[in-house]
């Protein structure tokens, strides 16, 4: 009689632990998905901004064809990159191409004075700050998810229930220096 009660209690406790651990893993995995969605929002903003930026520069510096092509190609490659790690790499290249585009524009005073171009440049800097923030949050959530997933007792649950590792989105190596400072208070 007593043995049955003790065994029953142990089984109930183990089931409870299983449920709690499973739910914890689900919550952490959902957090990484939210984190990825945040990155995706900023990436999409950047992809949408690129054609406008290229058009704006073209109006003043039509013969910089090579720079335009490299930006457009980098954007297309980034949009099609599968998974976070590849997307991070492709977007680093896009970032480099955009930096070169901005550098080219420095040589055209009329372009630099254009209000449209300034607004686009400020939006680009806003996107880049937010992308860096979203990347930091996403990588933290992935790190937390992996830490829990690899420790006891979650490690026993994670495998059988198909909790897979997630890719990091590049590395957090410091802050991307903003190209434009925000005006006003």
């Amino acid at each position: 009689m007593w043995v049955a009660i003790v065994v029953g209690a142990v089984v109930v406790l183990l089931l409870l632990l299983l449920v709690l651990t499973y739910n914890r893993l689900v919550r952490l995995r959902n957090e990484t998905e939210t984190g990825w969605a945040n990155i995706d929002v900023q990436l999409r903003r950047r992809y949408d901004l690129v054609p406008n930026l290229v058009e704006a520069v073209k109006g003043y510096a039509a013969h910089e064809r090579e720079t335009f092509d490299s930006v457009t190609q980098a954007r297309a490659a980034a949009e099609q990159a599968p998974g976070p790690a590849a997307a991070a790499q492709a977007n680093d290249r896009l970032g480099g191409a955009l930096d070169r585009l901005i550098a080219v524009s420095e040589a055209y005073p009329q372009l630099r004075a254009s209000e449209n171009f300034l607004a686009l440049q400020q939006e680009l800097s806003d996107i880049e700050d937010k992308l860096a923030a979203a990347r930091r949050y996403y990588n933290q959530t992935v790190y937390r998810y992996h830490t829990v997933k690899q420790s006891f007792p979650a490690v026993l649950v994670a495998g059988p229930f198909g909790f897979r590792e997630r890719e990091f989105f590049g590395t957090d190596d410091g802050r991307d220096a903003p190209a434009v400072s925000f005006q006003g208070a």
Binding site: R136, Y137, Q140, T141, R175, F182, G184, A185
Partner: protein, 304 residues
């Protein structure tokens, strides 16, 4: 300590303080149960619980009105909105919180709202004038950490409990002055004296624990902010600027002091300096800077 160790240590110390708090209430109850008639205690206990629930429910949105905050205009403060939105993303909040402005030359900021979904942040115009973008990011990250760590809820809960203890003690003290509820006999007299002593000490001890919790949460918010922005030095620089600044916030009362980035009432006087730390809602700025320096591996230039 590294950042993660600091965060964990601060969480643990909060838990210990709360356990201490529960122990305090338990011991008070035991002593009083012995010193007074149990039936009287039941009555007072019920009154205390009702009072506690009532003040928990009513402690909602008093903050914004108490500080004179107004919704900020995006066109007027683009830099502020940019920083708040960026930090909100880095903190993983569901959406950027509404931003409020207080027209006050003293630099300060606070966050309020019981859950991340209902939170808002508020900064003074003095803060915007004083801080550059990097420092502002640190300050906002500190405030949003309070929101994410559910500090508003925690501090409301603790202050309600302190209020209940104060009410309890006050009530029983009055009764005992008029000689009610006393047990007879020699042992009863000793218990009664002990009970009186407990009634006097308990409210003070409750407040001291409350303030200790508040200071702990400040360290935690600093460490969380450094984790969110990845730039503890920015926050440390902001704290250094607050340290140099001498203006004090006009609209802040003691009731909302724990929400601010630094103690809005500059240097309370009247209490001797040795004990002053015990009655502060915030740790000294110097100690907060030191903790950030330790986890971040940098050194600010010393104060002149």
């Amino acid at each position: 300590m590294t950042l993660k160790e600091q965060i964990r240590a601060n969480r643990w110390r909060t838990l210990w303080l709360l356990i201490l708090f529960a122990a305090l209430v338990g011991v008070l109850g035991l002593i009083l149960g012995y010193a007074f008639q149990p039936s009287l205690l039941v009555v007072v206990g019920v009154v205390g619980i009702v009072y506690g629930i009532f003040s928990w429910l009513s402690a909602g949105s008093i903050v914004a009105s108490a500080t004179g905050a107004k919704p900020a205009d995006r066109a007027q403060y683009p830099r502020l909105f940019h920083v708040v939105e960026t930090v909100a993303i880095a903190a993983g909040l569901p959406q950027p919180p509404p931003v409020y402005i207080v027209d006050d030359p003293a630099p300060n900021a606070f966050a309020a709202g019981r859950s991340p979904a209902k939170a808002y942040v508020c900064v003074t115009t003095g803060l915007l004038n004083l801080m550059d973008e990097r420092e502002l990011e640190g300050v906002i990250a500190h405030e949003l950490s309070h929101v994410r760590n559910r500090d508003v809820r925690l501090m409301t809960l603790v202050s309600v409990l302190v209020g209940v203890i104060a009410l309890f003690s006050d009530f029983l003290l009055r009764i005992s002055i008029f000689g009610g509820g006393r047990r007879s006999g020699n042992a009863g007299a000793i218990a009664f004296v002990l009970g009186l002593a407990a009634l006097v000490i308990a409210p003070i001890a409750g407040v001291l624990i409350q303030l200790a919790v508040s200071r702990r949460r400040e360290y935690l918010a600093d460490a969380s902010a450094a984790e969110i922005t990845g730039d503890g030095e920015g926050l440390a620089l902001a704290l250094r600027k607050l340290q140099i600044d001498q203006t004090s916030t006009a609209h802040a009362s003691r009731a909302v002091a724990h929400l601010y980035i630094e103690n809005p009432q500059n240097q309370a006087t009247g209490i001797s300096t040795a004990f002053r730390g015990l009655f502060d809602t915030h740790p000294p700025l110097e100690a907060r800077i030191a903790a950030l320096e330790e986890s971040g591996g940098f050194r600010l230039a010393p104060l002149q």
